[in-house]
Protein backbone atom coordinates (compact mmCIF):
# COMPACT_ATOMS: atom_id res chain seq x y z
CA UNK A 1 0.00 0.00 0.00
CA UNK A 2 1.13 3.53 -0.71
CA UNK A 3 1.68 6.17 1.97
CA UNK A 4 -1.61 7.81 1.03
CA UNK A 5 -3.40 4.46 1.44
CA UNK A 6 -1.84 4.01 4.88
CA UNK A 7 -2.92 7.51 5.94
CA UNK A 8 -6.41 6.90 4.55
CA UNK A 9 -6.56 3.65 6.48
CA UNK A 10 -5.86 5.51 9.76
CA UNK A 11 -8.83 7.85 9.20
CA UNK A 12 -11.23 5.18 7.99
CA UNK A 13 -10.35 2.88 10.89
CA UNK A 14 -10.96 5.70 13.41
CA UNK A 15 -14.22 6.41 11.59
CA UNK A 16 -15.30 2.78 11.86
CA UNK A 17 -14.55 2.66 15.59
CA UNK A 18 -16.54 5.90 16.05
CA UNK A 19 -19.40 4.34 14.15
CA UNK A 20 -19.33 1.22 16.31
CA UNK A 21 -19.29 3.35 19.46
CA UNK A 22 -22.25 5.40 18.27
CA UNK A 23 -24.31 2.24 17.77
CA UNK A 24 -24.45 2.02 21.55
CA UNK A 25 -25.83 -0.91 23.40
CA UNK A 26 -28.23 -3.32 21.75
CA UNK A 27 -31.77 -2.79 22.96
CA UNK A 28 -32.58 -5.06 25.87
CA UNK A 29 -34.74 -8.04 25.02
CA UNK A 30 -38.37 -7.81 25.89
CA UNK A 31 -40.00 -10.97 27.20
CA UNK A 32 -43.23 -11.88 25.52
CA UNK A 33 -43.86 -14.50 28.20
CA UNK A 34 -44.31 -13.38 31.82
CA UNK A 35 -43.20 -16.82 33.04
CA UNK A 36 -39.62 -15.89 32.06
CA UNK A 37 -39.33 -13.45 34.94
CA UNK A 38 -41.38 -15.36 37.51
CA UNK A 39 -38.65 -17.33 39.19
CA UNK A 40 -40.41 -20.49 40.32
CA UNK A 41 -43.39 -20.61 38.00
CA UNK A 42 -42.90 -24.13 36.66
CA UNK A 43 -46.34 -24.83 35.21
CA UNK A 44 -46.81 -21.40 33.53
CA UNK A 45 -43.34 -21.76 32.01
CA UNK A 46 -44.20 -25.23 30.69
CA UNK A 47 -47.49 -23.95 29.29
CA UNK A 48 -45.66 -21.10 27.53
CA UNK A 49 -43.21 -23.61 26.03
CA UNK A 50 -46.08 -25.84 24.96
CA UNK A 51 -47.89 -22.92 23.36
CA UNK A 52 -44.73 -21.76 21.58
CA UNK A 53 -44.03 -25.22 20.18
CA UNK A 54 -47.51 -26.21 19.10
CA UNK A 55 -49.92 -23.30 19.61
CA UNK A 56 -53.37 -23.26 21.17
CA UNK A 57 -54.21 -26.79 20.09
CA UNK A 58 -51.54 -28.11 22.46
CA UNK A 59 -53.09 -26.24 25.40
CA UNK A 60 -56.40 -27.85 24.56
CA UNK A 61 -54.73 -31.27 24.39
CA UNK A 62 -52.96 -30.62 27.70
CA UNK A 63 -56.16 -29.84 29.56
CA UNK A 64 -57.89 -32.73 27.83
CA UNK A 65 -55.11 -35.10 28.85
CA UNK A 66 -55.24 -33.88 32.44
CA UNK A 67 -58.92 -34.65 32.75
CA UNK A 68 -58.51 -37.81 30.69
CA UNK A 69 -55.43 -39.76 31.68
CA UNK A 70 -53.58 -37.74 34.32
CA UNK A 71 -56.28 -38.16 36.95
CA UNK A 72 -56.17 -41.96 36.56
CA UNK A 73 -52.38 -42.05 36.64
CA UNK A 74 -52.16 -39.63 39.56
CA UNK A 75 -54.44 -41.51 41.96
CA UNK A 76 -51.99 -44.33 42.95
CA UNK A 77 -49.09 -41.90 43.26
CA UNK A 78 -51.09 -39.51 45.40
CA UNK A 79 -52.22 -42.40 47.58
CA UNK A 80 -48.60 -43.39 48.15
CA UNK A 81 -47.74 -39.80 49.05
CA UNK A 82 -50.75 -39.52 51.37
CA UNK A 83 -49.88 -42.79 53.12
CA UNK A 84 -46.44 -41.42 53.89
CA UNK A 85 -48.06 -38.40 55.53
CA UNK A 86 -50.22 -40.61 57.73
CA UNK A 87 -47.34 -42.79 58.82
CA UNK A 88 -46.52 -41.21 62.16
CA UNK A 89 -44.54 -42.33 65.19
CA UNK A 90 -47.62 -44.22 66.48
CA UNK A 91 -47.94 -46.27 63.26
CA UNK A 92 -46.90 -49.57 64.87
CA UNK A 93 -49.07 -49.08 67.95
CA UNK A 94 -52.33 -51.06 68.19
CA UNK A 95 -55.53 -49.10 67.66
CA UNK A 96 -56.71 -47.86 71.09
CA UNK A 97 -59.65 -49.85 72.45
CA UNK A 98 -61.68 -46.66 72.99
CA UNK A 99 -61.26 -45.89 69.29
CA UNK A 100 -62.15 -49.48 68.33
CA UNK A 101 -65.27 -49.36 70.48
CA UNK A 102 -66.49 -45.78 70.15
CA UNK A 103 -64.51 -44.31 67.29
CA UNK A 104 -64.66 -40.55 66.93
CA UNK A 105 -67.55 -38.14 66.84
CA UNK A 106 -67.18 -35.23 64.50
CA UNK A 107 -69.71 -32.59 63.36
CA UNK A 108 -70.80 -33.03 59.73
CA UNK A 109 -69.87 -29.43 58.90
CA UNK A 110 -66.32 -30.06 60.14
CA UNK A 111 -65.91 -32.91 57.66
CA UNK A 112 -68.02 -31.54 54.82
CA UNK A 113 -66.73 -28.00 54.42
CA UNK A 114 -68.20 -27.39 50.99
CA UNK A 115 -71.67 -28.72 51.79
CA UNK A 116 -71.57 -31.65 49.37
CA UNK A 117 -73.68 -33.79 51.73
CA UNK A 118 -76.43 -31.16 51.79
CA UNK A 119 -77.48 -32.29 48.32
CA UNK A 120 -79.27 -35.48 47.39
CA UNK A 121 -76.89 -37.64 45.30
CA UNK A 122 -79.73 -38.12 42.80
CA UNK A 123 -80.37 -34.40 42.35
CA UNK A 124 -78.94 -32.47 39.40
CA UNK A 125 -76.16 -31.06 41.57
CA UNK A 126 -75.61 -34.29 43.53
CA UNK A 127 -75.23 -36.22 40.30
CA UNK A 128 -72.24 -33.98 39.50
CA UNK A 129 -70.63 -33.74 42.93
CA UNK A 130 -70.98 -37.13 44.62
CA UNK A 131 -68.98 -39.39 42.35
CA UNK A 132 -69.40 -43.17 42.49
CA UNK A 133 -72.16 -44.86 44.47
CA UNK A 134 -69.60 -46.61 46.67
CA UNK A 135 -67.47 -43.65 47.72
CA UNK A 136 -67.35 -41.86 51.05
CA UNK A 137 -69.82 -39.12 50.15
CA UNK A 138 -72.53 -41.53 49.03
CA UNK A 139 -72.09 -43.75 52.08
CA UNK A 140 -72.07 -40.74 54.40
CA UNK A 141 -75.31 -39.57 52.78
CA UNK A 142 -76.75 -43.09 53.31
CA UNK A 143 -75.79 -42.72 56.98
CA UNK A 144 -77.62 -39.38 57.13
CA UNK A 145 -80.73 -40.96 55.58
CA UNK A 146 -80.51 -43.87 58.06
CA UNK A 147 -79.82 -41.80 61.16
CA UNK A 148 -78.76 -43.87 64.17
CA UNK A 149 -77.63 -46.86 62.07
CA UNK A 150 -74.06 -47.74 61.20
CA UNK A 151 -73.27 -47.82 57.48
CA UNK A 152 -70.14 -49.64 56.30
CA UNK A 153 -67.61 -47.78 54.24
CA UNK A 154 -64.09 -49.00 53.45
CA UNK A 155 -62.60 -50.13 56.80
CA UNK A 156 -64.97 -47.90 58.80
CA UNK A 157 -68.50 -47.72 60.06
CA UNK A 158 -70.32 -44.39 59.88
CA UNK A 159 -73.34 -43.44 62.00
CA UNK A 160 -75.20 -40.15 61.78
CA UNK A 161 -76.56 -38.52 64.91
CA UNK A 162 -79.40 -36.17 63.92
CA UNK A 163 -79.65 -34.32 67.22
CA UNK A 164 -76.01 -33.22 67.18
CA UNK A 165 -75.68 -33.22 63.34
CA UNK A 166 -72.52 -35.29 63.66
CA UNK A 167 -70.96 -38.50 62.46
CA UNK A 168 -69.71 -41.27 64.72
CA UNK A 169 -66.98 -43.05 62.81
CA UNK A 170 -65.28 -46.19 64.08
CA UNK A 171 -63.14 -48.98 62.64
CA UNK A 172 -65.01 -51.88 61.05
CA UNK A 173 -62.35 -54.29 62.29
CA UNK A 174 -59.52 -55.92 60.40
CA UNK A 175 -56.83 -53.33 60.93
CA UNK A 176 -54.69 -53.98 63.98
CA UNK A 177 -52.32 -51.06 64.12
CA UNK A 178 -52.70 -47.33 63.61
CA UNK A 179 -50.45 -47.50 60.52
CA UNK A 180 -52.33 -50.39 58.88
CA UNK A 181 -55.67 -48.69 59.62
CA UNK A 182 -54.66 -45.57 57.68
CA UNK A 183 -52.96 -47.60 54.93
CA UNK A 184 -56.02 -49.83 54.43
CA UNK A 185 -58.30 -46.80 54.31
CA UNK A 186 -56.17 -44.91 51.79
CA UNK A 187 -55.66 -48.01 49.62
CA UNK A 188 -59.40 -48.45 49.21
CA UNK A 189 -60.65 -44.86 49.16
CA UNK A 190 -61.68 -43.12 45.93
CA UNK A 191 -59.34 -40.21 46.36
CA UNK A 192 -60.16 -38.32 43.20
CA UNK A 193 -63.44 -38.71 41.41
CA UNK A 194 -63.11 -37.49 37.85
CA UNK A 195 -66.68 -36.24 37.53
CA UNK A 196 -66.78 -34.32 40.81
CA UNK A 197 -63.28 -32.89 40.23
CA UNK A 198 -64.34 -31.67 36.81
CA UNK A 199 -67.55 -30.24 38.28
CA UNK A 200 -65.57 -28.39 40.94
CA UNK A 201 -63.19 -26.96 38.34
CA UNK A 202 -66.02 -25.85 36.08
CA UNK A 203 -68.02 -24.45 38.98
CA UNK A 204 -65.06 -22.37 40.06
CA UNK A 205 -65.04 -20.91 36.58
CA UNK A 206 -68.74 -20.41 35.99
CA UNK A 207 -70.42 -20.53 39.42
CA UNK A 208 -73.20 -22.68 37.96
CA UNK A 209 -73.39 -25.16 40.86
CA UNK A 210 -72.92 -22.48 43.52
CA UNK A 211 -75.94 -20.64 42.12
CA UNK A 212 -78.07 -23.79 41.65
CA UNK A 213 -77.36 -24.95 45.21
CA UNK A 214 -78.24 -21.52 46.51
CA UNK A 215 -74.95 -21.21 48.38
CA UNK A 216 -74.63 -18.02 50.39
CA UNK A 217 -72.00 -15.45 49.54
CA UNK A 218 -70.37 -16.12 52.93
CA UNK A 219 -70.20 -19.85 52.24
CA UNK A 220 -68.60 -19.33 48.83
CA UNK A 221 -66.30 -16.67 50.33
CA UNK A 222 -65.05 -19.22 52.91
CA UNK A 223 -64.49 -21.83 50.23
CA UNK A 224 -62.55 -19.32 48.14
CA UNK A 225 -60.33 -18.51 51.11
CA UNK A 226 -59.44 -22.19 51.46
CA UNK A 227 -58.76 -22.36 47.75
CA UNK A 228 -56.59 -19.23 47.89
CA UNK A 229 -54.44 -20.67 50.68
CA UNK A 230 -53.98 -23.90 48.74
CA UNK A 231 -53.12 -21.84 45.68
CA UNK A 232 -50.45 -20.06 47.70
CA UNK A 233 -49.02 -23.38 48.91
CA UNK A 234 -48.75 -24.47 45.29
CA UNK A 235 -46.70 -21.31 44.75
CA UNK A 236 -44.38 -22.23 47.64
CA UNK A 237 -46.00 -19.69 49.96
CA UNK A 238 -46.74 -21.57 53.18
CA UNK A 239 -47.51 -18.50 55.28
CA UNK A 240 -51.21 -19.46 55.27
CA UNK A 241 -52.00 -15.76 55.35
CA UNK A 242 -54.15 -14.05 52.76
CA UNK A 243 -53.10 -10.49 51.94
CA UNK A 244 -55.74 -7.93 53.04
CA UNK A 245 -56.25 -6.60 49.50
CA UNK A 246 -57.04 -10.11 48.30
CA UNK A 247 -60.13 -10.38 50.55
CA UNK A 248 -62.05 -7.79 48.48
CA UNK A 249 -61.24 -9.72 45.33
CA UNK A 250 -62.49 -12.97 46.89
CA UNK A 251 -65.66 -11.33 48.13
CA UNK A 252 -66.35 -9.93 44.67
CA UNK A 253 -65.84 -13.36 43.12
CA UNK A 254 -68.07 -14.96 45.78
CA UNK A 255 -70.84 -12.50 44.84
CA UNK A 256 -70.42 -13.29 41.15
CA UNK A 257 -70.42 -17.06 41.77
CA UNK A 258 -73.57 -16.75 43.87
CA UNK A 259 -75.14 -15.03 40.86
CA UNK A 260 -73.81 -17.67 38.46
CA UNK A 261 -71.89 -15.21 36.30
CA UNK A 262 -68.18 -14.74 36.85
CA UNK A 263 -66.03 -12.03 35.28
CA UNK A 264 -62.57 -12.93 34.05
CA UNK A 265 -59.73 -11.03 32.55
CA UNK A 266 -58.56 -13.56 30.01
CA UNK A 267 -56.13 -11.31 28.20
CA UNK A 268 -58.47 -8.83 26.55
CA UNK A 269 -60.54 -7.14 29.22
CA UNK A 270 -63.11 -8.44 31.68
CA UNK A 271 -65.37 -11.09 30.24
CA UNK A 272 -68.56 -12.24 31.96
CA UNK A 273 -68.87 -16.01 31.69
CA UNK A 274 -71.83 -18.12 32.67
CA UNK A 275 -73.05 -21.57 31.79
CA UNK A 276 -76.53 -22.98 32.29
CA UNK A 277 -76.87 -26.06 34.49
CA UNK A 278 -78.05 -28.01 31.47
CA UNK A 279 -74.95 -27.14 29.41
CA UNK A 280 -72.78 -27.62 32.48
CA UNK A 281 -74.18 -31.13 33.15
CA UNK A 282 -73.91 -32.15 29.51
CA UNK A 283 -70.28 -31.07 29.33
CA UNK A 284 -69.28 -32.75 32.59
CA UNK A 285 -71.07 -35.99 31.67
CA UNK A 286 -69.57 -36.21 28.20
CA UNK A 287 -66.06 -35.34 29.38
CA UNK A 288 -65.99 -37.58 32.43
CA UNK A 289 -66.77 -40.61 30.26
CA UNK A 290 -63.96 -39.91 27.79
CA UNK A 291 -60.22 -40.44 27.75
CA UNK A 292 -59.64 -38.74 24.38
CA UNK A 293 -57.66 -35.56 25.19
CA UNK A 294 -58.68 -33.81 21.97
CA UNK A 295 -62.37 -34.51 22.54
CA UNK A 296 -62.17 -33.32 26.16
CA UNK A 297 -60.22 -30.22 25.18
CA UNK A 298 -62.70 -29.37 22.44
CA UNK A 299 -65.67 -29.88 24.74
CA UNK A 300 -64.16 -27.58 27.35
CA UNK A 301 -63.29 -25.03 24.69
CA UNK A 302 -66.86 -25.15 23.44
CA UNK A 303 -68.12 -24.02 26.86
CA UNK A 304 -66.26 -20.76 26.31
CA UNK A 305 -68.24 -20.10 23.15
CA UNK A 306 -71.47 -20.94 25.01
CA UNK A 307 -70.57 -18.84 28.03
CA UNK A 308 -69.63 -15.76 26.01
CA UNK A 309 -72.59 -15.92 23.65
CA UNK A 310 -74.04 -12.83 25.24
CA UNK A 311 -70.89 -10.83 24.57
CA UNK A 312 -71.11 -9.06 21.23
CA UNK A 313 -68.34 -8.04 18.84
CA UNK A 314 -65.93 -10.85 19.62
CA UNK A 315 -63.58 -11.41 16.72
CA UNK A 316 -62.17 -14.86 15.98
CA UNK A 317 -58.77 -13.65 17.17
CA UNK A 318 -60.29 -12.44 20.45
CA UNK A 319 -62.02 -15.77 20.91
CA UNK A 320 -58.73 -17.63 20.46
CA UNK A 321 -57.03 -15.34 23.00
CA UNK A 322 -59.90 -15.90 25.40
CA UNK A 323 -59.67 -19.67 24.89
CA UNK A 324 -55.92 -19.66 25.54
CA UNK A 325 -56.48 -17.65 28.72
CA UNK A 326 -59.32 -19.97 29.67
CA UNK A 327 -57.18 -23.09 29.21
CA UNK A 328 -54.28 -21.64 31.18
CA UNK A 329 -56.60 -20.60 33.97
CA UNK A 330 -58.44 -23.91 34.00
CA UNK A 331 -55.14 -25.81 34.29
CA UNK A 332 -54.36 -23.75 37.36
CA UNK A 333 -57.80 -24.39 38.86
CA UNK A 334 -57.41 -28.09 38.03
CA UNK A 335 -54.18 -28.17 40.05
CA UNK A 336 -55.79 -26.44 43.04
CA UNK A 337 -58.84 -28.69 42.91
CA UNK A 338 -56.56 -31.75 42.80
CA UNK A 339 -54.92 -30.46 45.97
CA UNK A 340 -58.33 -29.83 47.50
CA UNK A 341 -59.36 -33.38 46.61
CA UNK A 342 -56.49 -34.85 48.63
CA UNK A 343 -56.55 -32.41 51.55
CA UNK A 344 -59.98 -30.89 52.24
CA UNK A 345 -62.65 -33.27 50.88
CA UNK A 346 -64.80 -35.21 53.39
CA UNK A 347 -62.98 -38.53 52.85
CA UNK A 348 -59.65 -36.89 53.73
CA UNK A 349 -61.00 -34.62 56.48
CA UNK A 350 -62.18 -37.80 58.22
CA UNK A 351 -58.59 -39.06 58.17
CA UNK A 352 -57.33 -35.80 59.67
CA UNK A 353 -60.02 -36.04 62.36
CA UNK A 354 -59.00 -39.61 63.26
CA UNK A 355 -55.30 -38.76 63.24
CA UNK A 356 -55.97 -35.74 65.44
CA UNK A 357 -57.97 -37.88 67.87
CA UNK A 358 -55.31 -40.60 68.06
CA UNK A 359 -52.60 -38.03 68.70
CA UNK A 360 -54.55 -36.10 71.34
CA UNK A 361 -56.09 -38.82 73.52
CA UNK A 362 -59.44 -38.75 71.79
CA UNK A 363 -59.68 -34.98 71.37
CA UNK A 364 -60.26 -33.91 67.77
CA UNK A 365 -58.50 -30.67 67.00
CA UNK A 366 -60.20 -29.74 63.77
CA UNK A 367 -61.65 -26.31 63.09
CA UNK A 368 -62.17 -24.54 59.82
CA UNK A 369 -60.08 -25.83 56.93
CA UNK A 370 -58.13 -22.57 56.75
CA UNK A 371 -57.07 -23.02 60.40
CA UNK A 372 -56.43 -26.75 60.05
CA UNK A 373 -54.04 -26.16 57.19
CA UNK A 374 -51.58 -24.65 59.65
CA UNK A 375 -51.73 -27.80 61.82
CA UNK A 376 -51.36 -30.13 58.85
CA UNK A 377 -48.90 -27.86 57.08
CA UNK A 378 -46.34 -30.55 56.25
CA UNK A 379 -48.92 -32.88 54.77
CA UNK A 380 -50.47 -30.14 52.63
CA UNK A 381 -47.08 -28.92 51.42
CA UNK A 382 -45.99 -32.45 50.49
CA UNK A 383 -49.21 -33.17 48.63
CA UNK A 384 -48.96 -29.81 46.83
CA UNK A 385 -45.42 -30.67 45.76
CA UNK A 386 -46.50 -34.10 44.54
CA UNK A 387 -49.38 -32.65 42.51
CA UNK A 388 -47.21 -29.94 40.98
CA UNK A 389 -44.65 -32.60 40.09
CA UNK A 390 -47.30 -34.76 38.40
CA UNK A 391 -48.78 -31.84 36.46
CA UNK A 392 -45.35 -30.54 35.46
CA UNK A 393 -44.23 -33.99 34.30
CA UNK A 394 -47.41 -34.37 32.25
CA UNK A 395 -47.04 -31.01 30.48
CA UNK A 396 -43.29 -31.49 30.04
CA UNK A 397 -43.74 -34.84 28.28
CA UNK A 398 -46.45 -33.39 26.08
CA UNK A 399 -44.21 -30.43 25.18
CA UNK A 400 -41.30 -32.79 24.45
CA UNK A 401 -43.47 -34.91 22.15
CA UNK A 402 -44.42 -31.80 20.18
CA UNK A 403 -40.81 -30.63 20.25
CA UNK A 404 -39.60 -33.92 18.76
CA UNK A 405 -42.15 -33.56 15.96
CA UNK A 406 -40.81 -30.05 15.34
CA UNK A 407 -37.16 -31.09 15.45
CA UNK A 408 -37.44 -34.27 13.35
CA UNK A 409 -37.10 -32.52 9.95
CA UNK A 410 -34.37 -30.26 11.35
CA UNK A 411 -32.41 -33.27 12.65
CA UNK A 412 -32.71 -34.91 9.22
CA UNK A 413 -31.41 -31.71 7.61
CA UNK A 414 -28.46 -31.47 10.02
CA UNK A 415 -27.53 -35.12 9.45
CA UNK A 416 -27.67 -34.60 5.68
CA UNK A 417 -25.55 -31.46 6.10
CA UNK A 418 -22.94 -33.37 8.10
CA UNK A 419 -22.79 -36.15 5.51
CA UNK A 420 -22.36 -33.59 2.72
CA UNK A 421 -19.69 -31.74 4.70
CA UNK A 422 -17.75 -34.94 5.34
CA UNK A 423 -18.04 -35.99 1.71
CA UNK A 424 -16.85 -32.51 0.71
CA UNK A 425 -13.79 -32.71 2.97
CA UNK A 426 -12.86 -36.17 1.70
CA UNK A 427 -13.28 -35.25 -1.98
CA UNK A 428 -11.29 -32.04 -1.51
CA UNK A 429 -8.44 -34.00 0.07
CA UNK A 430 -8.37 -36.60 -2.69
CA UNK A 431 -8.57 -33.96 -5.40
CA UNK A 432 -11.80 -35.49 -6.72
CA UNK A 433 -13.52 -32.12 -6.49
CA UNK A 434 -11.08 -30.62 -8.98
CA UNK A 435 -11.80 -33.48 -11.33
CA UNK A 436 -15.53 -32.90 -10.93
CA UNK A 437 -15.07 -29.13 -11.52
CA UNK A 438 -13.06 -29.84 -14.64
CA UNK A 439 -15.73 -32.20 -16.03
CA UNK A 440 -18.51 -29.69 -15.27
Amino acid sequence: MSLADNKRSVFTTIGSYNSLNQQGKSPSQTDLYPSVNNKNDIVPFLLDVLKTVAGSVALSEAIGGMFGSLINKAEPQLKTALKKQFTQSNASEPLPSTFNNNGITVPVKTVDNNGVLKNNPNSDVGNLTYGSTTNFNTKAYDAILNSGTFVNYNNMQIKYNQSSDSFQIKPAGGSTTVGSFFDDYIDNVDLIDKKSLLSNVMDNFYGTLAKTQGKTIQQIYNELQTETLLNQVLDDDDSFVILPEKYDELLAKAREMANGSVNYDLGCGLMPSELSLNDFSKTVSSISGSTDPFYIGNQLGATIDQSTNATQDLTTENKETIKDGFFQKIIRIFTVKMLEAVTTTPQVRVLFAIMSSLQNNGVIKLNSPTEDMKNFKTCIKCMAKEIMRLVAAFIFLLAISYLIKLLKPIIKKVIKEKINQYTGVITSLTGANKLTDAII
Partner: protein, 135 residues
Protein backbone atom coordinates in the same frame (compact mmCIF):
# COMPACT_ATOMS: atom_id res chain seq x y z
CA UNK B 1 -33.88 -38.71 31.09
CA UNK B 2 -34.60 -38.55 34.87
CA UNK B 3 -35.83 -35.05 35.68
CA UNK B 4 -36.88 -33.61 39.02
CA UNK B 5 -40.14 -32.00 37.96
CA UNK B 6 -40.29 -29.87 41.08
CA UNK B 7 -37.08 -28.10 40.05
CA UNK B 8 -37.28 -25.42 37.36
CA UNK B 9 -33.55 -25.71 36.56
CA UNK B 10 -33.90 -29.44 35.92
CA UNK B 11 -36.88 -28.81 33.62
CA UNK B 12 -35.03 -26.11 31.68
CA UNK B 13 -32.07 -28.50 31.44
CA UNK B 14 -34.37 -31.15 29.97
CA UNK B 15 -35.54 -28.79 27.23
CA UNK B 16 -32.01 -27.52 26.57
CA UNK B 17 -30.75 -31.07 26.11
CA UNK B 18 -33.41 -31.82 23.51
CA UNK B 19 -32.99 -28.47 21.77
CA UNK B 20 -29.19 -28.77 21.55
CA UNK B 21 -29.63 -31.72 19.17
CA UNK B 22 -26.62 -33.25 20.88
CA UNK B 23 -27.85 -36.74 20.05
CA UNK B 24 -26.86 -36.24 16.41
CA UNK B 25 -23.16 -36.55 17.22
CA UNK B 26 -20.10 -35.50 15.22
CA UNK B 27 -18.76 -36.71 11.88
CA UNK B 28 -16.28 -39.60 11.71
CA UNK B 29 -12.59 -38.53 11.79
CA UNK B 30 -10.83 -37.88 8.52
CA UNK B 31 -8.09 -40.53 7.91
CA UNK B 32 -4.67 -39.05 8.79
CA UNK B 33 -2.84 -40.25 5.63
CA UNK B 34 -5.55 -38.60 3.55
CA UNK B 35 -4.95 -35.30 5.36
CA UNK B 36 -1.20 -35.55 4.73
CA UNK B 37 -1.71 -36.31 1.07
CA UNK B 38 -4.68 -34.09 0.43
CA UNK B 39 -3.81 -30.80 2.11
CA UNK B 40 -1.00 -29.87 -0.31
CA UNK B 41 -3.47 -30.30 -3.15
CA UNK B 42 -5.79 -27.61 -1.84
CA UNK B 43 -5.76 -24.15 -3.39
CA UNK B 44 -6.31 -22.20 -0.15
CA UNK B 45 -8.82 -19.46 0.62
CA UNK B 46 -9.74 -16.98 -2.09
CA UNK B 47 -12.00 -14.05 -1.18
CA UNK B 48 -12.85 -13.52 -4.83
CA UNK B 49 -13.93 -17.13 -5.32
CA UNK B 50 -16.00 -17.10 -2.11
CA UNK B 51 -17.64 -13.75 -2.92
CA UNK B 52 -18.45 -14.87 -6.46
CA UNK B 53 -20.07 -18.09 -5.20
CA UNK B 54 -22.18 -16.11 -2.69
CA UNK B 55 -23.22 -13.59 -5.35
CA UNK B 56 -24.05 -16.44 -7.74
CA UNK B 57 -26.37 -17.95 -5.13
CA UNK B 58 -28.25 -14.68 -4.42
CA UNK B 59 -31.00 -15.86 -6.74
CA UNK B 60 -31.72 -18.70 -4.26
CA UNK B 61 -32.83 -16.00 -1.82
CA UNK B 62 -34.90 -14.32 -4.51
CA UNK B 63 -32.45 -11.44 -5.00
CA UNK B 64 -31.36 -10.11 -8.42
CA UNK B 65 -27.77 -10.77 -9.51
CA UNK B 66 -25.65 -8.24 -11.39
CA UNK B 67 -25.70 -4.50 -12.04
CA UNK B 68 -28.54 -2.25 -10.94
CA UNK B 69 -31.20 -1.31 -13.53
CA UNK B 70 -29.39 2.05 -13.84
CA UNK B 71 -26.29 0.19 -14.99
CA UNK B 72 -24.33 1.10 -11.85
CA UNK B 73 -22.45 -1.54 -9.86
CA UNK B 74 -24.58 -3.23 -7.25
CA UNK B 75 -23.31 -1.87 -3.88
CA UNK B 76 -24.61 -4.97 -2.11
CA UNK B 77 -22.33 -7.16 -4.24
CA UNK B 78 -19.39 -4.82 -3.68
CA UNK B 79 -20.09 -5.01 0.03
CA UNK B 80 -20.20 -8.80 -0.19
CA UNK B 81 -16.69 -8.85 -1.68
CA UNK B 82 -15.38 -6.45 0.96
CA UNK B 83 -16.96 -8.48 3.75
CA UNK B 84 -15.42 -11.74 2.55
CA UNK B 85 -12.03 -10.09 1.95
CA UNK B 86 -11.99 -8.85 5.53
CA UNK B 87 -13.11 -12.17 6.98
CA UNK B 88 -10.51 -14.14 4.98
CA UNK B 89 -7.84 -11.58 5.84
CA UNK B 90 -8.64 -11.96 9.52
CA UNK B 91 -8.57 -15.75 9.23
CA UNK B 92 -5.24 -15.72 7.44
CA UNK B 93 -3.53 -12.97 9.41
CA UNK B 94 -5.11 -12.88 12.86
CA UNK B 95 -6.50 -16.33 13.57
CA UNK B 96 -4.61 -18.47 16.03
CA UNK B 97 -4.61 -22.18 15.36
CA UNK B 98 -3.51 -24.23 18.33
CA UNK B 99 -3.02 -27.95 18.01
CA UNK B 100 -3.02 -30.16 21.06
CA UNK B 101 -1.37 -33.54 20.68
CA UNK B 102 -2.30 -36.02 23.39
CA UNK B 103 0.24 -38.35 25.01
CA UNK B 104 0.38 -41.95 23.89
CA UNK B 105 1.59 -41.39 20.31
CA UNK B 106 3.67 -44.44 19.41
CA UNK B 107 7.14 -43.64 18.21
CA UNK B 108 10.22 -45.32 16.87
CA UNK B 109 13.46 -43.38 17.32
CA UNK B 110 17.07 -44.03 16.43
CA UNK B 111 20.13 -42.56 18.15
CA UNK B 112 23.64 -43.12 19.31
CA UNK B 113 24.85 -44.02 22.78
CA UNK B 114 28.41 -44.54 24.10
CA UNK B 115 27.95 -48.21 23.31
CA UNK B 116 26.84 -47.56 19.76
CA UNK B 117 23.60 -46.99 17.79
CA UNK B 118 20.36 -47.55 19.66
CA UNK B 119 16.74 -47.85 18.61
CA UNK B 120 13.92 -46.76 20.85
CA UNK B 121 10.32 -47.98 20.62
CA UNK B 122 7.69 -46.42 22.84
CA UNK B 123 5.11 -43.70 23.11
CA UNK B 124 5.03 -40.04 24.03
CA UNK B 125 4.20 -39.28 27.65
CA UNK B 126 3.44 -35.55 27.56
CA UNK B 127 0.82 -33.28 26.04
CA UNK B 128 2.28 -31.38 23.12
CA UNK B 129 1.19 -28.06 21.72
CA UNK B 130 1.60 -26.94 18.13
CA UNK B 131 0.64 -23.92 16.00
CA UNK B 132 -0.74 -23.65 12.51
CA UNK B 133 -1.60 -21.04 9.93
CA UNK B 134 -4.65 -20.86 7.71
CA UNK B 135 -3.95 -20.09 4.05
Amino acid sequence: MAIDFSNIDAIIGGFTKVLSLSSIGGPPPVPTPLILVGIPLRSGLSPTKIASRIIARKSEAGLPVGALPSGANNPDEIMERIRIEEIVKAIQQDMIISVAVPPGITLTAAGISPTGPVSVFGSTITFTKGYGVAQ
